[in-house]
Amino acid sequence: MVSQLTPGERIAALITLILLAVIGLFMAAAGRADPLGAHGFVVLLSSTGLIFLLLSKSNGTPPDPARLLQYYDDPTKLGIILSMIWAVFGLFIGVWVASLLAWPDLTFDAAWASFGRLRPVHTTSVIFGFGGNALIATSLHVLQRTSRARLPEQFSPWFVLLGYNLFCILAVSGYFLGVTQSKEYAEAEWYADIWLVIVWVVYFGIYIRTLARRQEPHIYVANWYYMAFILVVAMLHIVNNLAIPVSMGHAKSYSAFSGVQDAMTQWWYGHNAVAFFLTAGFLGMMYYYLPKRAERPIFSYRLSIISFWGITFMYMWAGSHHLHYTALPHWVQTLGMSFSIVLLVPSWASAGNALATLNGAWHRVRDDATLRFMMVAAVFYGLTTFEGSFMAIRPVNSLSHYTDWTIGHVHAGALGWVAMITFGTFYCLVPWMWKQERIYSPKLVEWHFWLALSGTIVYVFAMWNSGIIQGLMWRTYNESGTLTYSFLESLVAMEPYYIARAFGGFLFLAGAVVGSYNIWMTIRMARGVPATPMDDLPVSRLAPEAGE
């Protein structure tokens, strides 16, 4: 990590870290009567820890100039490892939080362990920790390969990766402490939000500067998706998080918007976080790694362009379908519903494009669990987007909204699409990155695949059942014209499904643990044995791989 930095970059890193340590100190002092103080210490400790690392590893020798003949993959490697750590942590919390609904006393009477605090820990760890690190890691890899250019320098990728993880830690530790904005998927408070903006600007800078250095005249479509992910997430994040802090010594802030405007802004954000974080970013991943693994070009490049602009344009309109039958004006609801339905066209174009790419390589899908991960991901993407459009129709939404059906839908997308495409990608990428011929154990990949698939199916079916039963019970009238079921009766009816859901989640978690072990052993393999020459890699490594 450090040995690859030029002397100038080491100084830049040192200055940045000292600055950050000072900010941490200031936060700790100003917020001493508030959870903000604890976060000040988190910032202070992580920056001084990195300063120590930097100084102890800096030996004054500049890095080998021959490194410039290679792509810069160290941040990608660390990103993969961090992503898997967040996955296991986030999924574990997910299983816990699911179990709380069946066995509510699993909180052990501790404030931090109650459902309301653990839920954002789960969502943030899996979406931002697991998903975000996977996107950063893969985007830097894809960016360099498709541009045929090395990253412009070595400092900013580390800033982005480590800074992003600092954001995730601040967010997640904050929820345990009760620091939250209550905006779903944007719970982190103002100072963490500001920090994320800085990190994001640097991330965008890396993209733009590398693209400017590209040797290929055309920007490959995967980069379009990654770019849309970076840009639109920045837009959404800034607008939705506009708030005024109580004081510089308080973690708490008050949203700039209220009531109906706040609801619209929040779901404009919430919906498009799904669109541009969990869809566009991972489509970028799919458009590069799926053809690569299948060793076949994407079925239709034109179709990928058309669906790109379709998604970029239309998703933005669809957010209001989260607010059907609420105090939101009727025409805004209708607009959201219409666009949600039209959105199915570019979504299915992408899913179809992926599956058509595999057409003619089905034998490989059968034999190769990695490719199967990607294939199943594309299928789930298609299913989930169909379900999403369906649920956005007002009468359907009147049944599904507020119920577990929504949770089932989200997890069909998150487990079936996002996590599956990521695992498939990692199983391609890890051997490439650590210069191995193959993953440590293909058999364990097979295990992971079946655990993940069965976990997802158990989960989604449990939630479909519970959601639809719930929705129907709430609206059932008896012959005398009164509501048949009390709310409590609908809750009692959920219990078997909540247990099944926790079990499905457990299977998925078990799969992720198996996957992490497999990836870790592949990395260990790389340390033990000298790199094996491969046709697509240089025979000898010119620069020493250090740091991760």
């Binding site: 209550s182 770019m227 209220s258 706040d262 805004v332």
Partner: protein
Amino acid sequence: MSELHRKLERSAVGFVVAIIFMASIGGLVEIAPLFTIDETVEDAPDMRVYTPLELAGRNIYIREGCYACHSQMIRTLQDEVERYGPYSLAVESQYDHPMLWGSKRTGPDLARLGGKYSDAWHVAHLINPRDVVPESVMPKYGWLQRNDLRIDDLGAHLSAMKAVGVPYSDEMIANATNDAFGQTLPDSDFAEGVSERYGEETNIREFDGDTSRVTEMDALVAYLQILGRLTDAAYQQAAGNQSSQDQQAQSQQAQSQPLGSTAK
């Protein structure tokens, strides 16, 4: 056309502009009119702001993530109106920074919770929900009773709320800490100021039954008891709708007939 696009795309900057342009339109179109619209937010001259204690309680509601399982938004559907009360109006959350409409009902909707149960019921329910409702899956919140509420900084909270547009007066801000104290200690000298500033109807009680100190339980119960009670607008509108929709209500056949769609 093609040449233009090619140029845009070759220089990555043009491409960036194109993405921002494409993506921002939908948001602008949907959100911008909501800021000019007066009709989205009905008139409610009787609407009052949260007292400092209720605001503190609301912040505890946020801190504990109650919104993850409880919505505060009754939709314009017949079964919801019958189960929970008149459907929610935009005006009712006009001082809610942020709104807490929620997206999931693991527990019931709370938009009209205020006044439905006694303070003692709420305290017992929060300490152990299963003492009161054996089938409940809600977590226990016993520590709320043990924790003192931080009230010294409530003035700063009110100023921040004022900065985002809630009409708190300077007097309210200056007396925030005392008012929080007074609202839960009806016999103290501070109690009078609360009803002066926030209206005669304000609940001034020892919410958690403990007069010796102000706890987080006091604040949360004070907030829960005001839910849906900041204005009568929703009840008035419901009364208005009722006469015109009496016939419709008689037939009662539809399970989820949109109410109020005529009113919109």
